[in-house]
Amino acid sequence: MGNALQDDALQNNSTLLGTDELVLNMGPQHPSTHGVLRVKLKLDGERVRGTECVIGYLHRGVEKIAENRTYQQVAPYVDRMDYVAAVSNGLGYCEAVEKLLNVEAPPRARVIRVILTELQRIASHLVWLGTHALDIGALTPLFYCMREREEILKIFEKYCGARLTTHAFRIGGLQYESYDGFEKDVERFCLDFERRIQEYVDLLTGNSIWIGRTRNVGVLNAADCIALGASGPILRAAGVKWDLRKAQPYAAYDQYKFEIPVGTNGDTYDRYMVRIEEMRQSRLICLQAIEKIPEGAIMGKVGKVIKPPAGEVYHSIEAPKGILGYYIVSDASTQPYRVRIRPPSFINLQALDKMVRGHLVADVVAIIGTLDIVLGEVDR
Protein backbone atom coordinates (compact mmCIF):
# COMPACT_ATOMS: atom_id res chain seq x y z
CA MET A 1 0.00 0.00 0.00
CA GLY A 2 2.96 2.17 0.61
CA ASN A 3 3.64 1.73 -3.05
CA ALA A 4 0.28 3.09 -4.05
CA LEU A 5 0.80 6.19 -1.95
CA GLN A 6 4.18 6.71 -3.45
CA ASP A 7 2.67 6.31 -6.88
CA ASP A 8 0.18 9.04 -6.27
CA ALA A 9 2.86 11.32 -4.96
CA LEU A 10 4.97 10.64 -8.00
CA GLN A 11 2.12 11.20 -10.36
CA ASN A 12 1.10 14.48 -8.85
CA ASN A 13 4.58 15.82 -8.88
CA SER A 14 4.71 16.90 -12.46
CA THR A 15 8.33 18.02 -12.35
CA LEU A 16 9.38 14.41 -12.12
CA LEU A 17 7.55 13.58 -15.24
CA GLY A 18 7.57 14.65 -18.76
CA THR A 19 9.71 16.59 -21.10
CA ASP A 20 9.19 19.94 -19.43
CA GLU A 21 12.14 20.90 -17.26
CA LEU A 22 15.37 19.31 -16.36
CA VAL A 23 17.84 20.80 -13.93
CA LEU A 24 21.37 20.16 -15.05
CA ASN A 25 24.18 20.83 -12.68
CA MET A 26 27.18 22.15 -14.51
CA GLY A 27 30.23 22.08 -12.34
CA PRO A 28 31.90 22.71 -9.99
CA GLN A 29 33.79 19.79 -11.51
CA HIS A 30 33.11 20.38 -15.16
CA PRO A 31 35.72 20.70 -17.88
CA SER A 32 34.46 23.98 -19.26
CA THR A 33 33.41 26.05 -16.31
CA HIS A 34 36.97 27.30 -16.03
CA GLY A 35 37.62 26.28 -12.49
CA VAL A 36 35.05 25.75 -9.83
CA LEU A 37 32.06 27.66 -11.10
CA ARG A 38 28.83 25.83 -10.61
CA VAL A 39 25.91 26.71 -12.82
CA LYS A 40 22.50 25.22 -12.31
CA LEU A 41 20.80 25.17 -15.66
CA LYS A 42 17.08 24.84 -16.05
CA LEU A 43 16.65 23.07 -19.34
CA ASP A 44 13.75 22.52 -21.62
CA GLY A 45 15.12 19.83 -23.89
CA GLU A 46 18.48 21.36 -24.51
CA ARG A 47 17.30 24.93 -24.34
CA VAL A 48 18.21 26.98 -21.31
CA ARG A 49 15.32 28.52 -19.48
CA GLY A 50 17.24 29.96 -16.58
CA THR A 51 20.51 29.76 -14.74
CA GLU A 52 21.72 30.08 -11.23
CA CYS A 53 25.40 30.60 -10.55
CA VAL A 54 26.80 29.12 -7.41
CA ILE A 55 30.14 30.67 -6.59
CA GLY A 56 32.46 30.72 -3.65
CA TYR A 57 34.24 27.42 -4.03
CA LEU A 58 37.52 29.29 -4.30
CA HIS A 59 36.79 31.91 -1.70
CA ARG A 60 39.87 32.75 0.35
CA GLY A 61 38.84 36.05 1.86
CA VAL A 62 41.47 38.21 0.21
CA GLU A 63 39.74 41.37 1.37
CA LYS A 64 39.61 40.22 4.97
CA ILE A 65 43.17 38.95 4.95
CA ALA A 66 44.25 42.36 3.69
CA GLU A 67 42.99 43.96 6.88
CA ASN A 68 45.52 42.02 8.92
CA ARG A 69 48.58 42.49 6.74
CA THR A 70 50.80 45.45 6.12
CA TYR A 71 50.42 47.24 2.82
CA GLN A 72 53.40 45.46 1.31
CA GLN A 73 52.21 42.08 2.51
CA VAL A 74 48.89 42.49 0.75
CA ALA A 75 50.49 42.84 -2.67
CA PRO A 76 51.28 39.11 -3.20
CA TYR A 77 47.73 38.21 -2.19
CA VAL A 78 46.14 40.25 -4.94
CA ASP A 79 48.27 38.38 -7.46
CA ARG A 80 46.33 35.28 -6.56
CA MET A 81 42.99 36.71 -7.51
CA ASP A 82 43.21 36.74 -11.26
CA TYR A 83 46.05 34.31 -11.50
CA VAL A 84 46.26 34.46 -15.28
CA ALA A 85 46.82 38.23 -15.12
CA ALA A 86 48.71 38.63 -11.86
CA VAL A 87 50.74 41.59 -13.10
CA SER A 88 47.63 43.65 -13.78
CA ASN A 89 46.30 42.93 -10.31
CA GLY A 90 49.55 44.04 -8.79
CA LEU A 91 49.60 47.20 -10.86
CA GLY A 92 46.15 48.20 -9.72
CA TYR A 93 46.95 47.61 -6.07
CA CYS A 94 50.31 49.35 -6.13
CA GLU A 95 48.89 52.38 -7.90
CA ALA A 96 46.00 52.56 -5.46
CA VAL A 97 48.35 52.60 -2.49
CA GLU A 98 50.58 55.11 -4.24
CA LYS A 99 47.56 57.32 -4.69
CA LEU A 100 46.82 56.95 -1.01
CA LEU A 101 50.41 57.83 -0.15
CA ASN A 102 50.36 60.62 -2.69
CA VAL A 103 53.61 59.49 -4.30
CA GLU A 104 54.30 58.68 -7.92
CA ALA A 105 56.41 55.93 -9.35
CA PRO A 106 59.38 57.27 -11.32
CA PRO A 107 59.04 57.39 -15.12
CA ARG A 108 61.27 54.40 -15.76
CA ALA A 109 59.25 52.26 -13.40
CA ARG A 110 56.05 53.39 -15.04
CA VAL A 111 57.19 52.48 -18.51
CA ILE A 112 58.37 49.05 -17.43
CA ARG A 113 55.06 48.60 -15.67
CA VAL A 114 53.28 49.34 -18.92
CA ILE A 115 55.39 46.83 -20.82
CA LEU A 116 54.85 44.06 -18.31
CA THR A 117 51.17 44.80 -17.96
CA GLU A 118 50.61 44.77 -21.68
CA LEU A 119 52.53 41.51 -22.01
CA GLN A 120 50.32 40.19 -19.26
CA ARG A 121 47.27 41.36 -21.16
CA ILE A 122 48.43 39.41 -24.18
CA ALA A 123 49.09 36.36 -22.01
CA SER A 124 45.69 36.61 -20.41
CA HIS A 125 43.95 36.94 -23.74
CA LEU A 126 45.94 34.00 -25.04
CA VAL A 127 44.72 31.81 -22.21
CA TRP A 128 41.22 33.03 -22.90
CA LEU A 129 41.49 32.36 -26.62
CA GLY A 130 42.89 28.89 -26.16
CA THR A 131 40.34 27.76 -23.62
CA HIS A 132 37.47 29.44 -25.40
CA ALA A 133 38.38 27.71 -28.63
CA LEU A 134 38.72 24.44 -26.75
CA ASP A 135 35.26 24.91 -25.28
CA ILE A 136 33.86 25.34 -28.74
CA GLY A 137 35.71 22.25 -29.82
CA ALA A 138 38.79 23.52 -31.62
CA LEU A 139 41.65 21.62 -30.06
CA THR A 140 44.62 23.15 -31.76
CA PRO A 141 44.52 26.89 -30.94
CA LEU A 142 45.04 26.09 -27.28
CA PHE A 143 48.49 24.74 -27.93
CA TYR A 144 49.45 27.58 -30.20
CA CYS A 145 48.30 30.06 -27.57
CA MET A 146 50.18 28.28 -24.82
CA ARG A 147 53.30 28.30 -26.96
CA GLU A 148 53.21 32.11 -27.21
CA ARG A 149 52.21 32.55 -23.60
CA GLU A 150 55.25 30.53 -22.68
CA GLU A 151 57.44 33.20 -24.28
CA ILE A 152 55.79 35.87 -22.17
CA LEU A 153 56.11 33.81 -19.01
CA LYS A 154 59.77 33.33 -19.79
CA ILE A 155 60.21 37.08 -19.90
CA PHE A 156 58.45 37.34 -16.54
CA GLU A 157 60.60 34.61 -15.12
CA LYS A 158 63.76 36.34 -16.26
CA TYR A 159 62.48 39.58 -14.84
CA CYS A 160 61.33 38.55 -11.41
CA GLY A 161 61.85 34.83 -11.05
CA ALA A 162 58.19 33.93 -11.01
CA ARG A 163 56.01 32.95 -13.89
CA LEU A 164 52.45 33.01 -12.72
CA THR A 165 51.98 34.97 -9.54
CA THR A 166 54.76 37.36 -10.25
CA HIS A 167 54.47 40.06 -7.63
CA ALA A 168 56.42 42.10 -10.13
CA PHE A 169 55.69 45.57 -8.78
CA ARG A 170 56.28 47.18 -5.45
CA ILE A 171 54.44 50.09 -3.91
CA GLY A 172 56.29 53.11 -5.22
CA GLY A 173 57.87 51.50 -8.26
CA LEU A 174 59.68 48.29 -9.04
CA GLN A 175 61.79 46.09 -6.90
CA TYR A 176 63.96 44.79 -9.70
CA GLU A 177 65.80 46.61 -12.39
CA SER A 178 65.04 45.17 -15.83
CA TYR A 179 67.53 42.47 -16.76
CA ASP A 180 70.03 42.71 -19.59
CA GLY A 181 68.37 42.02 -22.88
CA PHE A 182 64.90 42.74 -21.56
CA GLU A 183 64.11 45.09 -24.43
CA LYS A 184 65.49 42.62 -26.91
CA ASP A 185 63.33 39.78 -25.54
CA VAL A 186 60.22 41.91 -25.63
CA GLU A 187 60.99 43.17 -29.09
CA ARG A 188 61.64 39.71 -30.44
CA PHE A 189 58.40 38.48 -28.98
CA CYS A 190 56.41 41.40 -30.34
CA LEU A 191 57.86 41.18 -33.82
CA ASP A 192 57.16 37.49 -33.95
CA PHE A 193 53.73 37.81 -32.44
CA GLU A 194 52.01 39.44 -35.41
CA ARG A 195 52.64 36.29 -37.43
CA ARG A 196 51.34 34.15 -34.58
CA ILE A 197 48.13 36.09 -34.29
CA GLN A 198 47.64 35.47 -37.96
CA GLU A 199 47.78 31.74 -37.23
CA TYR A 200 44.87 31.96 -34.83
CA VAL A 201 42.97 34.17 -37.18
CA ASP A 202 43.53 31.69 -40.00
CA LEU A 203 42.23 28.87 -37.86
CA LEU A 204 39.20 30.63 -36.47
CA THR A 205 38.07 33.96 -37.87
CA GLY A 206 36.83 32.84 -41.26
CA ASN A 207 35.82 29.36 -40.18
CA SER A 208 32.12 28.95 -40.82
CA ILE A 209 31.66 26.61 -37.86
CA TRP A 210 33.35 29.13 -35.59
CA ILE A 211 31.19 31.92 -36.95
CA GLY A 212 28.11 29.78 -36.59
CA ARG A 213 28.97 28.97 -33.01
CA THR A 214 29.76 32.54 -31.98
CA ARG A 215 27.80 34.99 -34.07
CA ASN A 216 24.52 36.05 -32.46
CA VAL A 217 25.35 33.93 -29.46
CA GLY A 218 25.16 35.59 -26.06
CA VAL A 219 24.30 39.03 -27.34
CA LEU A 220 24.63 41.74 -24.72
CA ASN A 221 23.90 45.21 -26.02
CA ALA A 222 25.42 48.42 -24.76
CA ALA A 223 22.51 49.38 -22.50
CA ASP A 224 22.52 45.97 -20.83
CA CYS A 225 26.28 46.08 -20.42
CA ILE A 226 26.10 49.40 -18.66
CA ALA A 227 23.13 48.35 -16.57
CA LEU A 228 24.95 45.21 -15.43
CA GLY A 229 28.24 46.99 -14.94
CA ALA A 230 29.99 44.77 -17.47
CA SER A 231 33.33 46.17 -18.54
CA GLY A 232 36.36 45.40 -20.59
CA PRO A 233 36.09 43.61 -23.94
CA ILE A 234 32.46 42.71 -23.21
CA LEU A 235 31.50 46.37 -23.01
CA ARG A 236 33.64 47.32 -25.97
CA ALA A 237 32.23 44.52 -28.11
CA ALA A 238 28.82 46.09 -27.58
CA GLY A 239 30.13 49.26 -29.19
CA VAL A 240 30.99 51.38 -26.17
CA LYS A 241 34.41 52.91 -26.58
CA TRP A 242 35.38 52.85 -22.93
CA ASP A 243 38.88 51.94 -21.97
CA LEU A 244 40.41 53.31 -18.79
CA ARG A 245 43.82 53.42 -20.42
CA LYS A 246 42.42 56.23 -22.56
CA ALA A 247 39.64 57.53 -20.36
CA GLN A 248 41.64 57.90 -17.15
CA PRO A 249 45.22 57.28 -18.18
CA TYR A 250 47.36 55.71 -15.49
CA ALA A 251 50.96 54.46 -15.44
CA ALA A 252 52.42 55.75 -18.69
CA TYR A 253 49.57 55.03 -21.06
CA ASP A 254 49.10 58.67 -22.03
CA GLN A 255 52.45 58.51 -23.85
CA TYR A 256 51.48 55.85 -26.34
CA LYS A 257 49.30 55.72 -29.37
CA PHE A 258 46.87 52.87 -29.63
CA GLU A 259 43.37 52.17 -30.79
CA ILE A 260 40.45 50.95 -28.75
CA PRO A 261 38.81 48.20 -30.79
CA VAL A 262 35.04 48.13 -30.54
CA GLY A 263 32.45 45.74 -31.86
CA THR A 264 28.94 46.35 -33.09
CA ASN A 265 26.65 43.50 -32.09
CA GLY A 266 27.99 42.60 -28.70
CA ASP A 267 27.91 38.91 -29.52
CA THR A 268 30.49 36.27 -28.87
CA TYR A 269 32.10 36.76 -32.24
CA ASP A 270 32.55 40.47 -31.62
CA ARG A 271 34.11 39.80 -28.27
CA TYR A 272 36.49 37.44 -29.97
CA MET A 273 37.41 40.01 -32.58
CA VAL A 274 37.83 42.73 -29.96
CA ARG A 275 40.19 40.62 -27.90
CA ILE A 276 42.22 39.58 -30.94
CA GLU A 277 42.56 43.23 -31.90
CA GLU A 278 43.45 44.14 -28.33
CA MET A 279 46.34 41.71 -28.49
CA ARG A 280 47.58 43.50 -31.59
CA GLN A 281 47.25 46.87 -29.88
CA SER A 282 49.05 45.62 -26.78
CA ARG A 283 51.83 44.45 -29.00
CA LEU A 284 52.05 47.92 -30.53
CA ILE A 285 52.16 49.53 -27.09
CA CYS A 286 54.99 47.22 -26.08
CA LEU A 287 56.91 48.06 -29.24
CA GLN A 288 56.46 51.81 -28.61
CA ALA A 289 57.43 51.44 -24.99
CA ILE A 290 60.68 49.59 -25.53
CA GLU A 291 61.75 52.24 -28.05
CA LYS A 292 62.43 54.60 -25.23
CA ILE A 293 62.62 53.38 -21.69
CA PRO A 294 63.67 56.42 -19.65
CA GLU A 295 66.73 56.06 -17.45
CA GLY A 296 66.61 56.75 -13.77
CA ALA A 297 65.46 55.37 -10.49
CA ILE A 298 62.93 52.59 -10.27
CA MET A 299 61.61 53.32 -6.81
CA GLY A 300 59.79 56.44 -5.71
CA LYS A 301 60.11 58.03 -2.30
CA VAL A 302 58.48 55.39 -0.20
CA GLY A 303 59.68 54.47 3.22
CA LYS A 304 60.37 51.00 4.55
CA VAL A 305 57.23 51.21 6.61
CA ILE A 306 54.21 52.31 4.68
CA LYS A 307 51.89 54.31 6.82
CA PRO A 308 49.50 56.29 4.65
CA PRO A 309 47.54 59.15 6.11
CA ALA A 310 44.01 58.39 7.19
CA GLY A 311 41.61 58.56 4.28
CA GLU A 312 40.23 56.52 1.45
CA VAL A 313 41.04 56.05 -2.18
CA TYR A 314 39.53 54.35 -5.18
CA HIS A 315 41.70 53.50 -8.10
CA SER A 316 40.78 51.45 -11.09
CA ILE A 317 42.72 50.15 -14.05
CA GLU A 318 41.85 48.39 -17.24
CA ALA A 319 42.74 44.79 -16.48
CA PRO A 320 42.57 42.27 -19.34
CA LYS A 321 39.12 41.21 -18.20
CA GLY A 322 37.71 44.63 -17.53
CA ILE A 323 37.77 47.35 -14.95
CA LEU A 324 39.66 46.27 -11.87
CA GLY A 325 39.12 48.67 -9.00
CA TYR A 326 40.64 48.90 -5.52
CA TYR A 327 38.94 50.82 -2.78
CA ILE A 328 41.25 51.22 0.20
CA VAL A 329 40.45 52.85 3.51
CA SER A 330 43.36 53.79 5.68
CA ASP A 331 43.23 54.52 9.39
CA ALA A 332 46.80 55.80 9.37
CA SER A 333 48.17 52.50 10.60
CA THR A 334 50.50 50.15 8.72
CA GLN A 335 47.58 47.96 7.79
CA PRO A 336 44.66 48.91 5.62
CA TYR A 337 41.43 49.41 7.52
CA ARG A 338 39.41 47.97 4.67
CA VAL A 339 40.18 46.84 1.16
CA ARG A 340 37.39 46.36 -1.28
CA ILE A 341 38.12 45.00 -4.70
CA ARG A 342 35.97 45.40 -7.77
CA PRO A 343 36.89 42.32 -9.75
CA PRO A 344 35.87 42.47 -13.40
CA SER A 345 35.12 38.74 -13.67
CA PHE A 346 32.70 38.81 -10.76
CA ILE A 347 30.71 41.62 -12.24
CA ASN A 348 30.85 40.34 -15.79
CA LEU A 349 29.60 36.97 -14.58
CA GLN A 350 26.31 38.62 -13.66
CA ALA A 351 25.59 38.94 -17.34
CA LEU A 352 25.60 35.16 -17.77
CA ASP A 353 21.94 34.66 -17.01
CA LYS A 354 20.85 37.35 -19.42
CA MET A 355 23.12 36.04 -22.13
CA VAL A 356 22.25 32.35 -22.00
CA ARG A 357 18.47 32.46 -21.78
CA GLY A 358 16.97 30.84 -24.82
CA HIS A 359 20.23 29.35 -25.99
CA LEU A 360 21.33 25.74 -26.02
CA VAL A 361 23.62 23.96 -23.57
CA ALA A 362 26.43 24.16 -26.07
CA ASP A 363 26.08 27.93 -26.12
CA VAL A 364 26.30 28.11 -22.36
CA VAL A 365 29.78 26.75 -22.66
CA ALA A 366 30.67 29.25 -25.36
CA ILE A 367 29.23 32.09 -23.30
CA ILE A 368 31.03 31.15 -20.10
CA GLY A 369 34.15 31.07 -22.22
CA THR A 370 33.54 34.44 -23.81
CA LEU A 371 32.96 36.08 -20.42
CA ASP A 372 36.59 35.25 -19.67
CA ILE A 373 36.09 34.64 -16.00
CA VAL A 374 38.74 33.50 -13.59
CA LEU A 375 37.24 31.92 -10.54
CA GLY A 376 40.06 33.07 -8.30
CA GLU A 377 38.92 36.58 -9.00
CA VAL A 378 35.20 35.88 -8.82
CA ASP A 379 35.45 34.22 -5.44
CA ARG A 380 38.46 36.13 -4.10
Binding site: D7, L10, Q11, L16
Partner: protein, 177 residues
Protein backbone atom coordinates in the same frame (compact mmCIF):
# COMPACT_ATOMS: atom_id res chain seq x y z
CA UNK B 1 23.61 -30.93 -37.93
CA UNK B 2 24.83 -27.37 -38.06
CA UNK B 3 21.42 -26.37 -39.31
CA UNK B 4 19.59 -27.86 -36.38
CA UNK B 5 22.07 -26.46 -33.87
CA UNK B 6 21.59 -23.01 -35.35
CA UNK B 7 17.82 -23.41 -35.43
CA UNK B 8 17.54 -24.47 -31.82
CA UNK B 9 19.89 -21.72 -30.76
CA UNK B 10 18.01 -18.98 -32.57
CA UNK B 11 14.60 -20.35 -31.69
CA UNK B 12 15.52 -20.74 -28.04
CA UNK B 13 16.91 -17.23 -27.84
CA UNK B 14 13.85 -15.84 -29.61
CA UNK B 15 11.30 -17.57 -27.41
CA UNK B 16 13.07 -17.00 -24.12
CA UNK B 17 13.72 -13.35 -24.72
CA UNK B 18 10.19 -12.86 -26.06
CA UNK B 19 8.88 -14.29 -22.81
CA UNK B 20 11.21 -12.03 -20.85
CA UNK B 21 10.10 -9.08 -22.91
CA UNK B 22 6.50 -9.59 -21.95
CA UNK B 23 7.24 -10.10 -18.28
CA UNK B 24 9.86 -7.44 -17.49
CA UNK B 25 8.67 -4.45 -15.48
CA UNK B 26 11.14 -2.04 -16.93
CA UNK B 27 10.17 -0.91 -20.41
CA UNK B 28 13.80 -0.50 -21.44
CA UNK B 29 14.50 -4.08 -20.45
CA UNK B 30 11.50 -5.11 -22.48
CA UNK B 31 12.92 -3.24 -25.43
CA UNK B 32 16.32 -4.90 -25.05
CA UNK B 33 14.75 -8.33 -24.96
CA UNK B 34 12.60 -7.50 -27.97
CA UNK B 35 15.78 -6.52 -29.79
CA UNK B 36 17.27 -9.87 -28.89
CA UNK B 37 14.17 -11.62 -30.22
CA UNK B 38 14.31 -9.64 -33.43
CA UNK B 39 17.97 -10.46 -33.93
CA UNK B 40 17.32 -14.13 -33.32
CA UNK B 41 14.49 -13.99 -35.85
CA UNK B 42 16.88 -12.36 -38.27
CA UNK B 43 19.11 -15.39 -37.74
CA UNK B 44 16.16 -17.64 -38.59
CA UNK B 45 15.63 -15.64 -41.77
CA UNK B 46 19.25 -16.13 -42.72
CA UNK B 47 18.85 -19.82 -42.12
CA UNK B 48 15.87 -19.81 -44.45
CA UNK B 49 18.10 -18.21 -47.12
CA UNK B 50 16.36 -14.86 -46.94
CA UNK B 51 19.51 -12.78 -46.79
CA UNK B 52 17.90 -9.54 -47.79
CA UNK B 53 15.18 -9.88 -45.19
CA UNK B 54 17.82 -10.72 -42.62
CA UNK B 55 19.57 -7.44 -43.17
CA UNK B 56 16.31 -5.53 -43.64
CA UNK B 57 15.20 -6.88 -40.29
CA UNK B 58 18.39 -5.64 -38.67
CA UNK B 59 18.48 -2.26 -40.36
CA UNK B 60 14.79 -1.39 -40.18
CA UNK B 61 13.65 -3.18 -37.06
CA UNK B 62 16.65 -3.04 -34.80
CA UNK B 63 18.37 0.02 -36.21
CA UNK B 64 15.21 2.02 -36.83
CA UNK B 65 12.07 0.98 -35.05
CA UNK B 66 13.67 -0.14 -31.83
CA UNK B 67 15.81 2.95 -31.63
CA UNK B 68 12.58 4.91 -31.94
CA UNK B 69 11.04 2.87 -29.14
CA UNK B 70 13.98 3.38 -26.84
CA UNK B 71 14.02 7.04 -27.67
CA UNK B 72 10.38 7.40 -26.71
CA UNK B 73 10.81 5.36 -23.56
CA UNK B 74 13.65 7.64 -22.53
CA UNK B 75 11.66 10.71 -23.44
CA UNK B 76 8.57 9.88 -21.42
CA UNK B 77 10.64 8.63 -18.50
CA UNK B 78 8.78 5.54 -17.61
CA UNK B 79 10.43 4.93 -14.28
CA UNK B 80 7.27 6.22 -12.66
CA UNK B 81 5.20 3.57 -14.31
CA UNK B 82 7.51 0.92 -12.91
CA UNK B 83 5.75 0.97 -9.60
CA UNK B 84 2.44 0.02 -11.07
CA UNK B 85 1.02 -3.43 -11.15
CA UNK B 86 2.31 -5.19 -14.19
CA UNK B 87 -0.63 -7.35 -15.09
CA UNK B 88 -4.32 -6.85 -15.01
CA UNK B 89 -5.75 -9.86 -13.26
CA UNK B 90 -9.06 -9.59 -15.06
CA UNK B 91 -7.19 -10.37 -18.23
CA UNK B 92 -6.07 -13.69 -16.86
CA UNK B 93 -9.14 -15.16 -18.53
CA UNK B 94 -8.07 -13.74 -21.84
CA UNK B 95 -4.64 -15.19 -21.32
CA UNK B 96 -6.15 -18.55 -20.63
CA UNK B 97 -8.20 -18.34 -23.80
CA UNK B 98 -5.05 -17.47 -25.72
CA UNK B 99 -3.28 -20.42 -24.19
CA UNK B 100 -6.09 -22.76 -25.18
CA UNK B 101 -6.16 -21.39 -28.71
CA UNK B 102 -2.42 -21.76 -28.92
CA UNK B 103 -2.57 -25.33 -27.73
CA UNK B 104 -5.17 -26.03 -30.36
CA UNK B 105 -3.11 -24.50 -33.13
CA UNK B 106 -0.08 -26.40 -31.92
CA UNK B 107 -2.01 -29.63 -31.93
CA UNK B 108 -3.21 -28.97 -35.44
CA UNK B 109 0.31 -28.37 -36.64
CA UNK B 110 1.56 -31.42 -34.81
CA UNK B 111 -1.05 -33.81 -36.08
CA UNK B 112 -1.28 -32.37 -39.55
CA UNK B 113 2.36 -33.28 -39.93
CA UNK B 114 1.49 -36.92 -39.31
CA UNK B 115 -1.31 -37.09 -41.83
CA UNK B 116 0.13 -38.24 -45.11
CA UNK B 117 -0.92 -36.52 -48.30
CA UNK B 118 -3.23 -33.97 -46.76
CA UNK B 119 -1.49 -31.06 -48.44
CA UNK B 120 -1.34 -28.92 -45.34
CA UNK B 121 2.32 -29.61 -44.97
CA UNK B 122 5.09 -30.23 -47.31
CA UNK B 123 7.88 -32.01 -45.58
CA UNK B 124 10.44 -31.12 -48.18
CA UNK B 125 11.51 -27.64 -49.06
CA UNK B 126 12.34 -26.44 -52.51
CA UNK B 127 16.05 -26.36 -53.32
CA UNK B 128 17.80 -23.37 -51.82
CA UNK B 129 19.16 -22.31 -55.20
CA UNK B 130 15.70 -21.21 -56.24
CA UNK B 131 16.06 -18.09 -54.18
CA UNK B 132 19.63 -17.16 -55.02
CA UNK B 133 20.81 -14.51 -55.59
CA UNK B 134 18.37 -13.39 -52.99
CA UNK B 135 18.31 -9.61 -53.28
CA UNK B 136 17.96 -9.75 -57.08
CA UNK B 137 15.12 -12.26 -56.89
CA UNK B 138 13.37 -10.20 -54.28
CA UNK B 139 13.80 -7.01 -56.26
CA UNK B 140 12.47 -8.58 -59.44
CA UNK B 141 9.42 -9.81 -57.65
CA UNK B 142 8.96 -6.53 -55.85
CA UNK B 143 9.23 -4.32 -58.88
CA UNK B 144 7.24 -6.46 -61.32
CA UNK B 145 4.42 -8.44 -59.73
CA UNK B 146 4.12 -6.37 -56.62
CA UNK B 147 4.79 -2.91 -57.91
CA UNK B 148 1.41 -1.51 -56.90
CA UNK B 149 1.60 -2.82 -53.32
CA UNK B 150 5.11 -1.42 -53.18
CA UNK B 151 3.89 2.02 -54.16
CA UNK B 152 1.02 1.76 -51.73
CA UNK B 153 3.44 0.82 -48.97
CA UNK B 154 5.57 3.84 -49.76
CA UNK B 155 2.51 6.08 -49.60
CA UNK B 156 1.63 4.45 -46.30
CA UNK B 157 5.07 5.27 -44.96
CA UNK B 158 4.78 8.83 -46.14
CA UNK B 159 1.41 9.22 -44.47
CA UNK B 160 2.75 7.64 -41.31
CA UNK B 161 5.68 10.01 -41.32
CA UNK B 162 3.49 13.07 -41.71
CA UNK B 163 1.10 11.71 -39.12
CA UNK B 164 3.84 11.04 -36.62
CA UNK B 165 5.30 14.51 -37.08
CA UNK B 166 1.92 16.16 -36.64
CA UNK B 167 1.12 14.00 -33.66
CA UNK B 168 4.36 14.52 -31.81
CA UNK B 169 4.77 18.18 -32.64
CA UNK B 170 4.62 20.59 -29.77
CA UNK B 171 1.75 22.93 -30.31
CA UNK B 172 2.71 26.59 -30.22
CA UNK B 173 0.19 27.39 -27.55
CA UNK B 174 1.22 24.68 -25.12
CA UNK B 175 4.85 25.61 -25.13
CA UNK B 176 4.51 28.61 -22.93
CA UNK B 177 2.07 27.13 -20.44
Amino acid sequence: MLDSVLFYFFAGVAVISAALMVTRRNAIHSAVFLITTLLATAGIFLQLRAEFLFIAQIIIYVGGIMVLFIFVIMLVRLDVALHHIRFRMKNLVVTLVIAVLGAEAGAIIYYARKLPGQGLFIEKMAPAQNLAPNSEKLAQSLFSNYLLPFEIASVLLLVAMVGAVVMAKNKKGTEDS
